[in-house]
């Protein structure tokens, strides 16, 4: 079976993350409990179920821990907020034991699994000792015949060459991104925009974005698409960016495909109510008068009425309506429209509220200059609990990184770089993968560097791309 086949099957099954979370729970419990404790029975059962599903399809269950990633049957497992701490723990555990991973071809029984993880937790080989040999002996002594430990040096060989994948991926994301902008522009520019919106096509575009957001490619992040800004076509550009950010964020949270599609669609149309606001108010350079502000505050209500007429009564349609209506209702209910029945805002509305603000803050408008992405994040963090769900704000920052993809940064050696992708580990939240675009050191020019692995370099501060005359998306999407 080819690697592609395996990836396809695994994509279908989605048991990979479940397996990781169960292994993590077992290992954590084994620190304080003996393996024969009843406490393990349910988790082990769930783990065996997930493993059996993968074994059933692929005939092998092989987990490899490489740098900051986990590979299941040679395909990298995509992490999200809910599985990340588990992965991080396991990577550290295996690295500390000098073991690359483990594999089996026959479903082990619960005793074998528990004893194997117990050995890992309890035994740390001394330096210079052949860890694989030690563990093999341990497994044999424990009567574990179905699990094989894998050495670290074999691990490096499994990382596939992803250059072509990256190229295809970038191209595809741009095509979909641009198609979505064109679609919105065509649909919303027509006088009769209510009937002009072909919701079927909108769904197709969003579905494709959802599929793209699920790919994990080297040195590029789906988040990066939102770094594309277009001053002249702000309305469409902003809507698509909010859609991209919402899908990327939802994906990081671990939302399933169908719900990601609903979230993306809701995000795409969250501002549709602004079509009814006069342009002179929307694009007014100065502060709005109170009358103008009253009109502006009507846009969620306009959107709600418009969207109800566009398949708004169905379950997925209703999510579009609720997001359009609630995306300016603050977490503490201080936003608009103001309601007396204070109810928890829908998850999608809380997500869109954050990404909407992030994109708006990082885009030049007639009435404001764009903030640098990291400054925008700081602003959002400062408003957590008031305007935004504080847990989601943390999750957002953890997912996008303190220096989001597309941020222009200055490094400690004076180099200028663009952030390509954030590193998921918390301790590396300020140390993303970057592309050097200008450096005092010739050696570093055009290099892609993972700052998590290059401790000698660090980000000193972010830069305003306009001030230094650099268009960051160019570096994100060009080879």
């Amino acid at each position: 079976m080819s690697r592609e086949d395996i990836q396809k099957i695994k994509k279908r099954l989605n048991f990979d993350k479940q397996a990781i979370i169960h292994i993590y729970r077992i290992c954590k419990l084994l620190v304080t409990h003996e393996p024969d404790n009843e406490i393990f029975s349910k988790t082990v059962h769930n783990l065996l179920y997930a493993i059996s599903k993968i074994l059933e399809q692929e005939g092998v269950f092989s987990l490899l821990f490489v740098k900051s990633d986990i590979y299941l049957n040679k395909a990298r497992i995509q992490q999200n907020i809910t599985s990340f701490s588990a992965s991080e723990y396991l990577i550290k555990l295996f690295i500390s034991r000098n073991i690359g991973g483990f594999e089996f071809y026959v479903l082990p029984d619960s005793r074998e699994l528990l004893l194997f993880f117990y050995s890992l937790i309890k035994y740390s080989p001394a330096e210079g000792v052949d860890a694989i040999k030690v563990f093999e002996d341990l497994l044999e002594l424990s009567g574990i015949r179905n699990i094989r430990v894998l050495p670290t040096q074999a691990v490096e060989q499994v990382i596939p060459d992803e250059v072509q994948v990256l190229r295809d991926y970038k191209k595809k994301t741009l095509v979909i991104y641009q198609s979505t902008i064109r679609f919105l522009k065509d649909a919303l520019s027509s006088k009769d925009y209510i009937s002009g919106i072909d919701m079927r096509n909108a769904k197709r575009l969003v579905n494709q974005m959802v599929d793209l957001s699920g790919h994990n490619v080297e040195n590029f992040s789906f988040w990066g698409l939102s770094a594309i800004k277009n001053f002249d076509e702000y309305t469409f550009n902003h809507s698509v960016n909010v859609c991209v950010l919402a899908i990327a964020f939802g994906n990081a949270l671990g939302l399933p495909k169908r719900r990601l599609a609903e979230l993306g669609l809701a995000a795409l149309f969250h501002d549709i109510g602004k079509l009814t606001i006069p342009k002179k108010i929307l694009n007014k350079p100065g502060q709005l008068t109170s009358e103008e502000w009253d009109i502006m505050k009507q846009h969620p209500l306009f959107a709600m009425k418009l969207l109800f007429n566009m398949h708004g009564y169905s379950e997925s349609g209703l999510k579009k309506v609720i997001v359009a209506l609630q995306h300016h209702m603050n977490y503490d209910f201080s936003g608009y429209p103001r309601l007396i029945l204070e109810k928890k805002l829908h998850l999608f509305s809380r997500i869109v509220a954050i990404v909407d603000t992030f994109d708006a803050m990082t885009t030049d408008r007639v009435y404001q200059k764009a903030l640098k992405p990291d400054d925008a994040l700081r602003r959002i963090i400062s408003l957590a609990s008031k305007k935004y769900d504080p847990v989601l704000v943390k999750a957002f920052v953890s997912s996008i990184g303190l220096y989001p993809p597309g941020t222009l940064v200055e490094l400690s050696d004076g180099s200028i770089a663009v952030v390509l992708k954030s590193n998921p580990q918390y301790e590396n939240i300020e140390r993303p993968i970057i592309k050097i675009i200008n450096s005092p050191s010739e050696r570093l020019k055009s290099d892609i560097i993972n700052l998590a692995e290059t401790q000698s370099l660090q980000i000193r501060k972010s830069l305003d791309p306009e001030e230094v005359g650099i268009n960051t998306p160019h570096y994100l999407f060009n080879e």
Binding site: D168, L174, L341, H346, K394, N471
Partner: protein, 564 residues
Amino acid sequence: MYYIKFDMGGEIGTNATKINEVKDIIISFVKLKRAQRIYLPNNEILQKLHIELVHKFKKFFMEDESISLLITPTDVYYAKSLVYSNPDRSESLAFQLYSNGINGITFYKGVEDKELFDLISILNIDMLDEDNIEDDIVTLMWSREFNFIEYSLRDDYFVQNPHANDIFDFIQRDRKDRQEKSGDKDLEFDPEELEPPPVIPHNEIALTDDEIEKIRSEVDYEDESALQIGMLDVLLELLFHERNQEEISNYINIIEKFVVNAFVEGNLRIFNALIMRYSEHKNGVFSSSDVIVSLYDKIISDLSSEPRIDELVDMLNTTYHQGLNDVLLYLLNLKKDIVPLLLRRLPDLKHVSYRRVFCEAIAQNGYDYVDLIGSKLQNAPEVIIKDIIYILGKVKNPKALEYLSKAMRFPSKELRLEAVSSIGRYRDDNSEKYLVEALLDADLDVRTSALRNIVAHGSFKTVNSLINFIGTDDFNRKSFQEKRRFFLALAKLAGPAIVNYFEDLLLNQKYQSVQIENEIKMCVIAALEMIGDHASLDVLKKAKAKIKSALSEQIENAIRNIQK
């Protein structure tokens, strides 16, 4: 869906047999697609075609791992060979797929029967019905998440001339403009001037385990009714605050559609939740709003109308997933005067369980409609008459007993049994009278049921009627088992008060024949044993001294059991 340029599939030089096999598969596929439009799912021809297609796929996959087809506007290719062609666009499978943006489709070994059937079902959906079909073919396929069917999409579906580079052009142009503005100055660095960014405290960005669990629970569990109820709350509040007449009409229209939509979509659980919430609000926080109160009544009236009841019946006849409690709660939420409509449509319901739910709803609202309900005992199929008898038993109007006593005369034993049960639900003199009459029924089961119901009533008044029955020719003709049941029922009903009567039967009574005497005395002994008090014991002891026959052993056993 995948993004790598679609491969035309198959190896170059794939042999003619394989190509013919693929042609054959596509012919079967198209035949099945056509048949699915014409026939009901359980139709034999359709099933045969389905089996045939699955068989052909299986045969092909004995040697190959997949079938990759290239789709053009009129043709389908496998391994660069034409395997399907149809210039008639209205019928062409190729055109249907291509016009929806699909330029390749691959079936993998392991493709499931259901996947094939579902794919064909998707292709048969009337996509012209834009008002009702929210998704296109590709979205439907995407949502279905086929395990062993993949498709590739044309890049140019949305963009006539695919210009991914437009973005690059824009970026380059924009960059140039900016550089011109800024004079394309060289970048200058002075690391000494750099200031480190403000540090964000750890607790402001690091997620705790509890927070991760909180996210996980929201991600894993989606409460659909919470979304709907939340929306209703907002809509009602907006309507409550609105003063503009035009906007009020707008909101009324939206709320009405919104609530009724839950019914139209066939989600009665959600409808019930919504209507319960609405009711809470109209009697609570929004009770001062005449608009909100009258809108509620309007919605209920609409759903209680004949066309809506007809829609409900059609829905229940075509879907199987409605919970019985949901259907009942839905019906009870409607106006009370729907009883005649429900009665009229009762015979049209195909599923017994849904019919019973209708019966419950009719019964709960049917007190004032007892005559109408009773009138339905005539000229209806037996199953419906049985339902009507059931309703009469639960309608709680004593007048129903008149109809039920008539029902006791139906020739069908099943109907008489149902009638006895229904009569048994009433606790008055009339019902007991009818139950005692039922003891004369020609059928043992009906008589036994009547007896059980009499006992269940526990009414002492019935005892005399039962005692009078003993000794009649009708009684004597009953089997021993039935007589025994009768005596045990009497013992249960009357308890110690009947011991004297039993003593008389056991020690003094004259009988027509020895057989009847023995049978009745055996029944009395069993009944006394059941009562089991001192008086019963004394009677049995007297009997032991007096009766020297085959009954002695039974008497001794009874005494022993009581003493234990």
